[in-house]
Structure formats: C-alpha cells, structure tokens
Symmetry: C2
Subunit: 286 residues, 2 copies
C-alpha cells in the first residue's frame, strides 16, 4: 500500500513526537526535523508509510542514540492493559459468542496506539469494546478454524498485545505463533513486550526479522517467512501490518481499528470503524 498524501502530516507528527521524547536539545531537534522533512519530500520513492516511519526512527537513533523513544509509553500502555484484562476476559467469557468478543477485544486493543495519536483510558476502552465490527468476516474465519492446525497472529502495538493474549487463549487446540518486531519500531511490540504481556503461555513468540512498524516481507527472516506461508490461518493486527501486507501472496484476516482516513477509505468503512476483514488469495485466478 503506497504512501498516501494523507500519511505525510501524520508521519511528520509522529517523528516530531518521537524526537521530543528522545532529546531535549533544541538544535538536535531542529536537525532531526529538517532531515525528516528531506526524507519525507522523497515519499514517492518509499513503498509504504511504515518504511518511511522506520527511516525516521533511524534518523532519531543516529542523532540521539535513543533507539526506543517510546519505551516509557509502552510500559505505561502495557500496565494499563494488564489492569483491564481481568474485566475484559470476564466480559468475553460471559457472552454468548465468545469468539466474536475475543476478536473484538483484540481489535479494541488496537486503540492503544500513541503513534496514531489516539488517547486511551479504561473508560474509553470499555465504551469502544461495545462498538460492533463494521466489517466482520467471522464466517470465513470459523470455517477455517474447523480444519486449521496452526495460527499465526502478527502483533502491532505494545499493550494491545495483552488483549491478543485473550484471543490466542480461545484456540488451545491450535499451534499458535505470535510475531513481533525484531527491534523497537515506534510503540510496536517486541519480544520483550510480548513476554511482559504473558503471551508465552499461549504461543511461540517469533520476531519477524524486520524492525519496521509493519511487515516488510523482503526483510523478514526465513524462519518467519516459513511460518507466515505455512500457517493455516494468519491474523494481521493493525494498520502498519495492513499497509505492508495488503498485496502479499497469501490469505490473511486483517483485524484492526481504522484510525486514519486513508486506511478507512481503502477498507470502505467509516473512520474509526472496527474491522475483521478476510482477504482471500487465489493464485490460480491471479
């Protein structure tokens, strides 16, 4: 998915937030922002927005030495999600269609995204949890579940991970893998964040081999690629993964909140809608 014009102000806000967090030095901030604008000017040469975001993060690291400006925010989001978890689990398990609500809990977790500029608190999570999916291809998902033996979930933000654990726990009969970024990428989950979310109780935790806030298949490890293509079901969380996997050669279920007009437009939903979209792939008909 290309870099949309709508991505440009958002990417610039993102690098500004990260820069302000990474350094208090005014000159350094100016240097980083000037170089970020130079990079952004070449947006047409990037394959997608997460690749630009990764480039900007590298700029910040090169100038400040800070490779993880969002470390504190991630810890705070994780702590909040862990506090919410018992109540959300009780909600999911007490409802008639636990699978639907487990998917919805994991999608609502996609709220925890400082990189998208969304604010978050317990009250908002509870309210948004009750909002139904605008698109929910759960029929196809339930059909796949009847024969599947393996499930891969590709994580997005730290904190959101906690609710992904609730989703993973619904499928004890499957061999489950949870994929994470190989190094800090904005506020995205790494292996350490997945462990802090307790996901090792449900799944193998597998870094993709890529440090972008998305999955750049050309940069992923062979181990990840093998798991990606061989898994019976792949669930991709969030916008960054959608942006980088929207044209990939396999079936995927995209689970996310559409947090920007470009992604909402592409999915054909209203801004801020919740989506569980089955993307079919039939190579013989390509």
């Amino acid at each position: 998915m290309k870099v949309f014009l709508e991505c440009l102000p958002c990417l610039l806000r993102q690098v500004l937030d990260a820069t302000k967090t990474a350094t208090d030095d005014a000159d350094l901030r100016n240097t980083i922002m000037t170089e970020a604008l130079e990079m952004l000017r070449g947006y047409g040469s990037f394959p997608n927005a997460p690749t630009v975001a990764r480039g900007m993060q590298r700029l910040i690291k090169a100038h400040t030495g800070n490779a993880d400006p969002y470390a504190a925010i991630k810890q705070s989001d994780l702590a909040l999600a862990l506090r919410l978890l018992p109540d959300v689990r009780q909600q999911v398990e007490s409802r008639d269609d636990s699978l639907y609500w487990a998917l919805k809990a994991a999608a609502t977790g996609n709220l925890l995204d400082c990189a998208a500029g969304t604010r978050f608190d317990a009250e908002r999570f509870t309210a948004e949890f009750e909002t139904l999916f605008a698109v929910c291809d759960d029929a196809a998902f339930r059909e796949r579940l009847q024969t599947a033996q393996t499930l891969l979930v590709i994580g997005d933000n730290a904190g959101e991970t906690v609710f992904d654990g609730l989703l993973l726990s619904q499928f004890p009969h499957l061999r489950r893998t949870y994929a994470v970024r190989s190094a800090p990428a904005i506020n995205d989950a790494t292996a350490a964040d997945a462990l802090a979310s307790g996901l090792d109780a449900y799944a193998d935790i597998l870094p993709t081999g890529c440090d972008a806030p998305g999955v750049l298949l050309s940069e992923c490890s062979e181990t990840f690629l093998e798991r990606f293509y061989a898994s019976d079901i792949v669930i991709s969380k969030g916008q960054g993964n959608l942006e980088t996997l929207s044209d990939c050669p396999r079936e995927i279920f995209f689970l996310l909140k559409a947090k920007c007009p470009a992604v909402a437009g592409l999915l054909g939903v209203d801004l801020y809608a919740y989506v569980f979209r089955h993307r079919e792939y039939r190579p013989d008909k390509a």
Copy 2:
C-alpha cells in the same frame, strides 16, 4: 513568534487540505506537496508560521490557478454564523455583563476555523459559548474604554466575522475599524467576507495590505499602519494575528481560542482555552 516545531505537521496538513480542495489532479497534488515539503524544510528561515502558510498558498495558486481554495467553506461558515447570530445576540444582551459576553461571543467565533482543523456546528458553538475565559484582562480593557475614541479590530476567519460584528456593536460611541486580509489567505476574512457579515454597519472595513494569514507589518499599507498605531484600542483576533503581532511596538488586546499546543504554551493556558490577553507596551521601559 518563530515557527515552532509543532507548527510543521499542522502546516503540512493545512497545505494538504487546501491542495485537495484546489485540484483533483493526482500528479499536480504530488507536485504541490513535494514543493511544500521543500519549503517546510526551510522553516528556520521564516519569521513565523503565517508566512510559511502564505508561501504554501502561493504554491497552490501557481500550480492550480486557484487562489481561493477555501471559498466554499468560507461561504458555508458565514451562512452558519449568520443563522446563529440572532440567538447569540439575544444571549449577550440578556446577561448582566454584556461586554464580557460580547467578547466571549467574538472569541467563541474563533472556533470557525477549518484551517486549524476544528469542526464546528451550532451545538458546539452554544456549548463553548458558556465556557468562561481562562484569561480575561477585561479590567484594563474597560479602563481604556473610558477615554478611547477609536477602536481597531483585526479580523481572523470568515464566519467568525459575524460575531465580531456583535462585539463592534457594543461601542457605538467609538470610531471603529475592522481590518481584513487584502486577498484570500486560507479561510481568513477579506473585505467581501466582512461585508457579507454586515460589518459595514458598525465599522470602516480596511484591508491590511497584506495577504498572509496574519499581519506582517512590513507588508501592510500606510493607511493600515496609520490606523494601527493611532487607534486608542486594538483588538487582535485569533492565532495568526497573535503569531505575527506578538512582538509589535504597541499595546494590543489579543482575543482568541488557543487551538494549538504551541500557542497555548506561550500564553500559559491549557489547550483550547479562551483568552482575552492585554499585552502592554511601554517603549520607555524597553
């Protein structure tokens, strides 16, 4: 007031909105955004954000021939404000302190600002009208009114103008001037917008001589400068005028809603606060 780092994403969003309104041609949009990013990269060489915004507007005009991308939005904001006016006037006139509420109506009008990305409807106006000023230097203003013979109000956005008329109408004993941009500048009011708001019933309508979304004194006409320095009271509306007049050599009353963190921080108020700030000027103590 310099270009803050926080201005950069906002300026980029602004030029994107204007570009999308001005042309449907994808190539042209890309050309404009690339050149806008190049201009933005040199933000350190601009004296203030309104000057950057003006440069971007010139880019759009040069590439599309459209000098007024916000024309339709301005008309719509004007129409909405005119519909609200009778009720707001009744509110102002029925309250004990009509002067305070006339100032507050004019400040609340500063909501009508698509350039700042704020949304607006009748319900929101009514709710925000009841929000008190966080800073209100009305004592100094009332003192000046006791001896003043002339008042200059420097307008900001089209639509907001309508409520400025309500403020102007409070001072029938003063010779009143309402200053406007000399040519379209984002959604700012021009002479045509002031006339459409009925301001000629209360004041001389005077273009500043400048087409930036602010007042660049070095570009203003002699007629305006004479009025600016000679008026007993000057009220400056909105952020763009504050950004360009914050260091000018005369006393000013700044009347606005603080719609961005940079301006709120500078004024020492919370984001979105309403402010009526007396800025004194004593050249002998400079």
